[in-house]
């Protein structure tokens, strides 16, 4: 019971995840076959499950606002500084 209260205190609803790949969002809503849809991982089915049960929502964001960008790329100085600030490092 208490853990439930803590959980709602944190988020109060589904967790929103921002993604900069709109193809991925579309696919999560409606998995259509296409000649380029291949190598679908089992994790994808997990994601579809949590999305259809409203635990997680996906939202598109521009690559420039993608805060996970420093986790996948080595960035130049300007972009790096902006992202580091956004990650809460001060």
């Amino acid at each position: 019971m208490a853990s439930q209260r803590l959980r709602t205190a944190i988020s109060g609803g589904p967790i929103n995840i921002k993604v900069d790949n709109s193809g991925c969002i579309d696919f999560s809503k409606k998995p259509v076959e296409h000649k380029r849809t291949k190598h679908i991982d089992i994790r994808c089915h997990f994601m579809r499950e949590v999305i259809t049960s409203d635990k997680v929502t996906l939202e598109h964001c521009a690559t420039d606002d993608m805060m996970a960008d420093p986790m996948t790329n080595e960035l130049g100085k300007t972009k790096h500084d902006r992202h580091v600030e956004a990650l809460g490092l001060r």
Partner: protein, 375 residues
Amino acid sequence: MDEEMKAIRQNKTWRLTNRPASRRVLKGKWAYKIKNEVHKNGNNTTRHRARLCFMGNRQINRLDFKETFAPAAKFTTILCILAMTAASGWELHQMDVKTAFLNGDLDKEVSMEQPDGYVNSTYPDKEWRLFQALYGLKQAPKMLYAKLDDFLKSQGSDNIDPDACLYLLMHDGEIIIVLVYVDDILLVASSLAAIYEIKDALHKRFEMKDLGEAKVILGLNIRRDKALGTLKLSQGKYAGQVLEKFGMAECNPIGTQLEVGLQLVKADESDDALPYREAVGSLMYMMVGTRPDLAFAIGKLSRFVSCYGKEHWAAIKRVLRYVKGSMEKGLDFDKNSSCVLQGFSDADWAGDHETQHCTTGFTLILGGATVSWGS
């Protein structure tokens, strides 16, 4: 030594018994340590501490012990709790269990020879039958955790399923959160009265050291400004030690971790003269604690811990130079930031040219700073 013996006696750790024929009797050993203590008035004193250790290295699995697993709180849990603490202006205190492992009850018969210097003169041939755990015993951490768990549950707290070390108590509308990291206990509550209440209860049951408001947890420095509602975590001291260790204390700082578009390939043979693995490992702890910005660089460089050469070493030196320029940087939680969990997820398309593997990265942001990340 006498102080340690006193603690051991107080806990009724052992009883002198006849040497059993069937059971294995293992040895104990004294371990000495010089501890530096900084007092509140700024004075430094050194204290000599002796600790009686059980020689757990001679214990045999299944014969002398069965399970040794003891859970410890995850960094993500600690960070989430700190974010909520900053956002809600809660009280944050810390306690420490004195001679922690002596508190664990043993569920199995364990025997030990009488320790050096404390051999009973009338019965030198008898041995100690242990009832409480000693330092060095393989199962000691598990036993301590079991006892703390029992106690916290008897106080009516709820164990939260994502982390076995997080306990939640609701009391007269006050929330009390207890976070256990082996013998370090972090207490969070909505009021000071609630903090004192749980402290009293803990004092009654265990021998505790009250550390007051939390300042350092697991080497992470906590700086709090209640008026502004900020809470900053940093590892500046550790960063300094790492730079010192690799002879980079006086290096020129640099603004980014890695060169843009850096492609590294596996070296045919590792250059063992370079302390590459040590450097990756040392930076890894910083990355896990307070530095999500290092995650990608460390992830990339740790692919080469078994096949590194000069160019890899040059890359990690650049990371160290970056650390030098950002030593005091840390996670800064802020009351005014939104307390809604926000996730970000990104992938690069076959970023590793050698294997065509992709890198996935994610961060979860709560209260103005990242609480969970991966690369």
